[in-house]
Amino acid sequence: MKRIVLVLLMLFITGSVVFGDYREEFEKGFLTKTWSGEQPAENFCIECHSSDRMKPELLTIAEEWKASWHAQHKIACHDCHGGDPKDASLAMSPHRGFVGKPTPAEVPDFCGKCHLGIVKQYWDSGHGKAFRASGKGPHCITCHGSHNTQKAHIDIINEQLCSKCHSYDRARTMKQALFLTEKKITELEADLDRLKSEGVFVDDETKNLFSVQAEFRTLFHSIDVDLIKNRTDDFSAKISVVDGSIKNYFKELQYRRNFSAFILLIFAGLGTTLYLFTKTPKE
């Protein structure tokens, strides 16, 4: 036995010495890097906009974007501005569709590349028509900002912002018309998060609610109070379908909890009885 142990030990020490520099895939993939966080792809936009060479007024862009709703959903610089972020020489190439800073007149269609429904509502709205006619008036950036764009919320409609151009009365009426539906959507989002945290798969409901929400948000941009009031019932009906489904999940979770608690009680009773039996003197 001692000989076997000795031979194994020698083999082990020799192996460790011989393969002492063995690295390759193992280090690359497993040990030297932590298995946490996405490995960031090389991005020359971020690199330049964070470097000392950049003009001070453009230095904050990368940080603003990182804190944005776009960044959270992996919408990167080139998705809006074009160019090739992986190649420094083509990062700002017009041949790769690069547009640095769009002019105010270009802004709605710049954002509208992705937000198709919204840009249509906007151009048909009073805001859009005024902007098209005079080149003045609110566009996307006026309300949503540019790089630090946050998740759209009904409170973007507020007196401080709207009164920059006109009185708040009409906007207030519109906000009131939107309020209940928006509140319900926010509540359902919170409910879906709770269900997810309890391990319930609510992908279909999440998609449905997102779709209703996206459609509803396009309506914000019409700034047409009558249209909003007329369509509120449609949205309520759609939301109630999702709501019903969520309520059923909660009912089901409660049933599961009660059911497993019932089984737990049976076993607890059985356990107590058995414990008393084991304490009963034998023979």
């Binding site: 036995m1 194994l8 082990f12 192996g15 460790s16 393969f19 002492g20 063995y22 690295r23 390759e24 895939e25 193992f26 280090e27 993939g29 497993f30 040990l31 298995w35 946490s36 966080g37 996405e38 490995q39 997810k196 945290s197 309890e198 391990g199 319930v200 798969f201 992908d203 999940y249 089901e252 979770l253 599961r256 909890r257 059911f259 497993s260 608690a261 089984i263 737990l264 076993f267 607890a268 059985l270 356990g271 058995l274 414990y275 039996f277 084991t278 034998k282 023979e283």
Partner: protein, 363 residues
């Protein structure tokens, strides 16, 4: 009618004799304790896994495009599918804990010593197969958690020079964890590991039946004092009858196992389902925090800490070898660990080290 049936069975299988031999006339040592019931607890734990596993496999689809959805359907659409899945998931973790505890107590009580060396080796091999069950089953829901945990664990063999990459490719069926890995792990989980495990379990139980239940939780018995040259079954003529004495203890521990299981299912249903476990696998997106299952955290952390990878993996294999063949290496006749200060200290150091490594790996 009942008597007729009983008689029919008696003629063919000797029911009365079975009951007499295994229940009423069998006697166990008077100093037997609840730790001697852990083997039975583990056995019941396996049965729960088998029954719940059969229920799950009826609805599960082992394909990368459908696996996640089929598991979600089991959780939401299949009647009581959630219960079977919860029992399977919670049960797998409890089972590994029970088996580890069983081995630790056998070690502490010195019950691996002759003539029970092979019972120990079989037990450790069963533990390894149980861990393989855990590892292969972990991938099947095809979630972000299962995908990346499997990626981490299947990276380990790459530490081997020359054959390391081959081993990893063999496990994964390619360079990365993919649909092929899922098929391989499914086959491993439901058709390769179960028969292997069953064979080992039959041998394990047959050896226990043949050699007899150890009656020496502490101290040395006559059997261990003499050189072992002839077979002699361990009996306890002065002991308590198996039924109800040990049977009640076993039943109590099994019920305790169920109580823990249903307490987790009732009060912490998402305990084993963190956020990543509810998101389908995405090979292009590494989650924020990913690590292997809790029972693999200690070796995982050990490998991370040792700078020489070959040394790390070799050390792991040597430790595993020492663990499996420990009864052949431990030549001391004393069974009572309290009379063996060196072994006792080593045991405590190992347990503390394992706990620290697990905690460290979890961070």
């Amino acid at each position: 009618m009942m008597n007729k049936m009983k008689n029919w069975l008696e003629v063919r299988i000797g029911l009365d004799e079975l009951v007499t031999t295994f229940v009423t006339e069998q006697r166990v040592s008077k100093n037997i304790n609840i730790f001697n019931t852990l083997g039975t607890v583990a056995f019941v734990g396996y049965m729960i896994q088998v029954i719940s596993g059969i229920a799950l496999v009826m609805y599960y689809i082992p394909h990368a495009d459908h696996a996640f959805r089929s598991v979600q359907d089991i959780m939401t659409k299949v009647p009581y599918g959630w219960l079977f899945r919860q029992m399977h998931v919670v049960g797998s973790n409890l089972l590994i804990a029970a088996v580890l505890l069983h081995l630790a107590t056998i070690f502490l009580m010195g019950n691996y010593k002759r003539p029970r060396e092979l019972t120990w080796v079989g037990g450790v091999l069963m533990l390894i197969i149980t861990l393989a069950f855990g590892l292969s089953g972990y991938l099947l829901p095809w979630t972000q958690l299962s995908y990346w945990a499997t990626t981490v664990v299947t990276s380990v063999p790459t530490a081997f020079p020359v054959i390391g990459d081959f081993l990893t490719r063999l496990l994964r069926g390619g360079d990365y964890v993919s649909g092929i890995t899922l098929s391989r792990f499914f086959a491993l989980h439901v058709s390769i590991l179960p028969p292997l495990f069953l064979i080992l379990m039959v041998i394990h139980i047959a050896l226990i039946r043949r050699i007899g239940l150890s009656g020496t939780p502490f101290g040395r018995s006559d059997d261990e004092k003499r050189p072992l040259t002839t077979y002699k079954k361990k009996t306890h003529p002065d002991g308590y009858p198996y039924y109800p004495y040990l049977f009640q203890k076993q039943a109590l521990m099994v019920v305790g196992y169920f109580i823990v299981m249903f307490a987790i299912i009732t009060f912490a249903p998402s305990f084993y389902f963190p956020e990543e476990a509810t998101v389908p696998a995405d090979p292009l997106k590494t989650p924020e925090s990913i690590r292997p299952e809790w029972y693999l955290l200690a070796p995982y952390q050990m490998l991370k800490l040792i700078p020489n990878k070959f040394l790390g993996i070799s050390l792991l294999i040597i430790l595993m070898g020492v663990f499996i063949f420990w009864p052949f290496l431990d030549k001391q006749k004393e069974k009572n660990i309290f009379q063996r200060p060196v072994l006792r200290s080593v045991f405590i150091v190992i347990i503390i080290t394992l706990l620290i490594l697990t905690w460290w790996g979890k961070r």
